[in-house]
Point group: C2
Chain length 316, copies 2
């Protein structure tokens, strides 16, 4: 089979995928339409489309699905698909696919990059080297080995973070909504959320955002953090109560790092960016050459698999 | 037993160890003398000393040993002891001890810190975050996983680097003067030096400096490196032919990182510091809170063990 019309919504043709991938995708449909987000032609274009391809964070709700009576397939170019009404899609027999795990390794390695950069004072080291000051005086550092490394959320990324932390010789503990007993055999200990927060020296947040987990990092959680704790969040910032974070940042006894600045309200970014103990990266954890290759391969592969009657990476 | 006189040569009392450690050390001798490097009283003070304590890189050769007829013990406050004539000391029944492995973890973790900082473009990321530019555009990154990670020298530090690299999922290969078959069971492959250099994406130099290994990184070795190779040297810079390094740096197709800038001649530093693909850190790999604690514990412990008739960390 082949789609009648591929509606590419809120994905720019250039920049998101390479020309070869688009060429391949175009063979999956009789025609292809690109629409920017909020385009007024959306409703009209939905009427006869049987395939929608969307980027991270693009909403495809009940309205859009109802406006597309011929819809069979929604392909999401991201791992997260929180903005797609997957239950309603299922009811309408529309299959939704995502890019499961395409950036797992990239994100996991970034987490260690950012933690080590901070722990070792590399910014200061590079600065000195560049200005021909080769003194190590006043540079201090901590090792990951033997520190308590807490992982909040032991999904695909959390598990990979755990494996790398074990390689560093950390005492790795986790809390997750569902306990992963098999994974515990590797030497990773399950602890209740509150205990994890109170005892960890380093915390990596790798939790999916759901109604249950939204703003789970509230005032009482931030109060529990050890003095000197280092927290890195590469998961959605909606897991964090920003005012509670600010209150703890003010005490200047923790470090908070994040890479989801793009998803934050400007007023929230303003609040946290004042504090030198809050290290804000652009959304770059998911970026690696390998992740980009996976993205192309999985996104195109998902559409092709559906066409061949063997859908893969179905999330509903 | 107790020493008659502790001669502390080229170690400053403040800065090198904490007051509690010095207090303890003072109990090991009837008296203690501190002499700065090159002090004219050295010869006189050596005459009746039975214990010399020296810092990294302090020379204790045939002359000094001959000038100290009562000498029984030389305690080196470093892992490297290349400047001590250990063979002659042995002949004169003088025991030499070092701080074996005190900074192994610190150096191994620093190596990953520096590699990841480069691979993930963290400097640019932090700069953007700080200037409220939250765009990831143009940031590129590579993963360690599945890359060929070559380790030159599989001693204590090299082995620890191998273990961490395995945690990252790299293809770990090594060359060492003596093959470590037991360690190969962990999933680390032995390859001849030339093949290691030609095939590795990332190379960590963890080789001890001996007459055999001096300037082992010569022109032909630098020519063999893959385009895009990343080399980090936390071992002595005398393993490197600086002019050969400069020739390859000029081609701008490798990255070389080092943390032994303090040991280099100024003219050599001038030569390499011109190239942005040469990242020079102050000597900070060995610095961590844990390494400092190990240093105190092992240095004091070595003297105490000798006094109790059970010398430890003896290198001759």
């Amino acid at each position: 089979m082949k789609f009648k019309k591929l509606l590419v919504y809120n994905i720019e043709e250039s920049g998101s995928l390479d020309p070869a991938s688009w060429k391949k995708i175009k063979t999956f449909g009789d025609k292809i339409i690109f629409l920017p987000k909020g385009d007024s032609k959306l409703k009209k274009e939905l009427a006869d489309t049987d395939c929608i391809l969307v980027n991270f964070g693009t909403e495809v709700g009940k309205t859009e699905i109802d406006n597309a009576p011929k819809l069979k397939y929604i392909g999401v170019m991201a791992t997260a698909f929180g903005k797609i009404d997957v239950a309603y899609a299922k009811k309408k027999k529309v299959i939704v696919t995502n890019l499961k795990g395409y950036s797992t390794e990239s994100v996991a390695e970034f987490i260690f990059a950012a933690i080590l950069e901070y722990l070792r004072g590399l910014e200061e080291g590079k600065k000195r080297g560049r200005s021909k000051n080769y003194s190590e005086l006043g540079i201090s550092a901590l090792e990951i080995k033997n520190r308590t490394f807490g992982i909040v959320g032991l999904g695909t990324i959390g598990q990979r973070v755990a494996e790398i932390a074990l390689g560093f010789g950390a005492n790795v503990a986790y809390w997750s909504r569902t306990r992963k007993k098999n994974f515990e055999n590797k030497g990773v200990k399950y602890v209740p959320f509150g205990d994890l927060i109170s005892n960890a020296d380093i915390i990596s947040i790798n939790l999916a955002q759901t109604k249950e987990t939204e703003y789970i990092f509230n005032k009482s959680v931030f109060n529990k953090l050890k003095n000197g704790a280092i927290i890195i969040n590469t998961a959605p910032m909606d897991l964090i109560n920003v005012d509670a974070l600010v209150e703890r940042l003010k005490r200047d006894d923790i470090v908070f790092m994040l890479d989801h600045s793009d998803e934050m309200a400007e007023k929230d970014l303003e609040k946290i960016s004042k504090y030198p103990n809050c290290i804000i990266y652009p959304p770059m954890a998911y970026i690696s050459r390998e992740a980009a290759e996976n993205k192309r391969r999985i996104f195109v592969g998902n559409i092709e698999a559906f066409i061949k009657g063997k859908p893969q990476n179905v999330v509903n």
